[in-house]
Amino acid sequence: MRPDDVTEPAQGSADSLVLLPVDLRPLDAELQQSGARARQMLHGRTQPTRYFVMDLRARLLSDDTAADTAEALGSGVIAGPSRIRRESLEARRQPSTPARPTVIAQAAAPAGPMVFLDARLALFVAAVASAALILAAIGSGAIPR
């Protein structure tokens, strides 16, 4: 075995240290390139939809954290829909207030003096007086039966 046959890390990062013999490194490099190309080719299909991301975030993380992180992600991309969704959720969460009867009479205050009431009273008095006069005239014989 020659000194340059000693295995060396194929990757720089400490996390991805893989000891490979020298003769396998070209194959390793070729496979890495192919893998990167394959991931690029599948990029669209392997990307989660925004709706799925936000929905899962809401399900798995608390609402506050979800909204906070969504805002940090950029308002132009995710925070918009999230905010709408959050507002609509909060609107739904508003406690319903018990129904109270509205006093309509107060709302519709009289605009002027009670003219109509007085007129009706006057008409009533006039009618009663007329009836009394007619009965009196009949009784006195002024109006023949």
């Binding site: 996390d15 190309r37 992180t69």
Partner: protein, 218 residues
Amino acid sequence: MGDGAGMPPAPTFESMAPDVHLSHLDSSGQLEVAARAQTDPRALARLFDEYLPRVYAFVARRVEDRAAAEELTAATLQRAIQAVRAGTLPESSFGGFAYRVAASAIVDRVRRAGRVIPSGLRASDLDEGNDREVAEAIGAEGAARAFAAAVDRNVLRRSFEVIPDAQFRVILLRYFDGLDIGEASAALGCSHKSFSVRLNRALRALSSALDEEAKGAA
């Protein structure tokens, strides 16, 4: 909530692409964030942001149905987050644990697709003979096709079919999914050292197959 001081910058949506070579938390960073995530919702959100696109991409490379990929991803992350909250995350990184759960979920889905599983039973309970290997092979079929399509050399593509399925799955995890050694070993349920040995053997087998092809052509 705070202004995020002390937290690493949240990824933009564009950076949530499934390319695993994007900067991400290393193993020690993951363990540190996972430890904080037990009590800090923002750290938990950080892990979620980091791994949702990766785990989804891992699943979607193997499961072509988008709804199924979403279902498996959701189940995987739910389990991983539960483990973080309960403080039961194994020694492996959060990512490694998530990939392992996802890989098992894919195999389980393949098993269930072929038969009716009574409730209360795991699909693996009904395995016979080499059923697990078959399910793993079927689960990796889509990934194998996609990877082969991206390989330039015909002879290398043909060599993929010559080496054993178990060795090819190691190659898929390492090169097609681009997992680092910690994540890949966790996905296979083995140690780092064991994964290195398996990868060496797989590459050696592939190299031998290439040599055979070259001899056959000559």
